[in-house]
């Protein structure tokens, strides 16, 4: 399983793997927002928590279909399904690899982008913490969406339609933590809720995703 994790990470880093795509998308999105709403610093700092979270979410979505689609096309998913490790483990490892190559860079880049959006200085800490806690949930929920649409020809658009509603709770609690952090309020409750969602997603969704993949490979 560790080897599978390494394989996926290496594939993502090599050329054509799409590493950095999400990061670039995140940067562009954050650059576009001031053009849309105007350069007013106060306004930007008011909407910064939401924009950063929505940006992270969309950047995550962008690379989701790579989790299974390429392996499905060249047949390695069939091999993985018949391998002696459980398919649930394969799914979990692939979601983890997706998080390391997409979610983790976002977490690292987010403070710099928060700077661009005049994010309140008290909120930086919470932005990093909440992204660190929340983005694994995005990868695991996303792996479920990707598993549902893996056999479909133009699954990408459908997958976003399926996955985005599932992201709502994570987004609500994530943005709430940053907003509260910026205002100097207590953040423990939304943070705990978000951690709960992430842990629940990690524990349960690989089973649902593996079930979907078994159906697709049938």
């Amino acid at each position: 399983m560790i080897r599978l994790l390494w394989r996926d990470i290496t594939l993502a880093f090599r050329s054509g793997g799409g590493f950095g795509l999400g990061l670039g998308f995140f940067l562009i999105l954050v650059t576009l927002v001031p053009f849309g709403v105007g350069p007013d610093g106060e306004m930007l700092s008011a909407i910064a928590p939401g924009i950063l979270w929505v940006g992270a979410l969309l950047a995550c979505l962008l690379s989701l279909d790579r989790i299974f689609a390429l392996d499905f096309e060249d047949g390695s998913l069939d091999l993985l399904a018949t391998a002696p490790i459980p398919l649930e483990g394969v799914v979990a490892m692939k979601a983890l690899a997706h998080w390391i190559t997409t979610g983790l860079p976002l977490v690292i880049a987010a403070p710099a982008l928060g700077f661009l959006l005049h994010l309140d200085s008290a909120a930086y800490r919470w932005l990093i913490v909440t992204l660190l806690i929340g983005t694994p949930a995005l990868s695991f929920i996303g792996s479920f969406g990707a598993a549902l649409t893996v056999g479909l020809k133009r699954g990408g658009l459908l997958m976003s339609l399926l996955v985005l509603p599932l992201y709502i709770p994570t987004l609500i609690f994530g943005a709430e933590v940053v907003r509260r952090g910026a205002g100097g309020f207590l953040v423990a409750t939304p943070l705990a809720m978000q951690a709960g969602i992430t842990l629940g997603a990690i524990a349960l969704l690989p089973f649902a995703a593996a079930a979907a993949i078994r159906v697709a490979l049938r």
Binding site: G151, P165, I168, P169, F173, A208
Partner: protein, 249 residues
């Protein structure tokens, strides 16, 4: 196929299902029409205007039942999906599929009547209120569920994947429902018809509302039976076509 032939599951056999619905459907449809119309007529013409809301209160007879149905139809789809996953009765999967479109319509009706009522009462068609928002989210879930059905050619694969989506979606819909409570304070009033609440709507509005709800439930039952019958026929037609093609080849 190994089917446990106890009395209850016999109803799920497609042929038997077709036979009993053939007889039951006319009765249920007529009953649904009568109760639906009488509930709405009673509600619209034979109840007094509210002293503050005037005649706008009467949208209640469409809004509340459709909102209830929107949630309950998703619950019904959840049960049907579970039955499909566990026992693999085709009628169950098809019933869930048929119910989705009705549920989406009910959600839309609840949202639109709410907006129409909200404009004179709250001064706005739309507010990011927890209840309103969760209904919008529910609408998204219905749309996603139906889109997944449409996207997959193989009916069994489609039934499997949509069932899994329905299970996971239910958890997340519930999660979103309580997450939005956290996110914004409400403008919407509390439950209108809960049995244990101290403050409820007065009896003048309560009885016609019950009739209207019964009408909506029966309407849903007759529509779902009708649509499931259509799906079964479409499936049979497809099977016949395939058989012909094999014969020709």
């Amino acid at each position: 196929m190994a089917i446990n032939w106890n009395a209850f599951w016999e109803w799920a056999n497609p042929r038997k299902f077709m036979r009993w619905t053939d007889r039951a459907l006319p009765v249920i449809s007529v009953l649904a029409a009568v109760i639906f119309v009488s509930g709405l007529v009673w509600g619209f013409f034979f109840t007094p205007d509210d002293y503050r809301q005037g005649a706008t209160v009467k949208i209640f007879y469409i809004h509340v039942p459709s909102a209830m149905m929107a949630i309950n139809i998703w619950a019904m789809m959840l049960v049907a999906s579970l039955i499909w996953i566990v026992r693999r009765h085709h009628v169950s999967a098809l019933a869930a599929k048929s119910a989705a479109a009705i549920g989406m319509t009910m959600t839309l009706i609840a949202l639109i009547t709410g907006a129409v009522w909200g404009k004179p009462m709250w001064g706005t068609y739309w507010e990011w209120d927890p209840r309103l928002t969760s209904f919008l989210i529910l609408l998204l879930f219905y749309i996603g569920y139906m889109a997944l059905w449409e996207a997959i050619d193989n009916p069994d694969t489609a039934a499997d994947l949509t069932s899994v989506l329905c299970l996971v979606g239910s958890v997340f819909a519930l999660l979103s429902r309580y997450a939005v409570l956290f996110w914004n304070q409400g403008l919407h009033q509390g439950a209108s018809l809960s049995l244990d609440a101290e403050e409820n709507v007065s009896d003048v509005y309560w009885y016609p509302a019950l009739v209207a709800i019964a009408g909506f439930v029966l309407l849903f039952v007759s529509l779902v039976l009708l649509r499931t019958r259509t799906e079964i026929r479409a499936r049979r037609l497809h099977a016949l076509e395939m058989r012909e093609r094999v014969k020709d080849a």
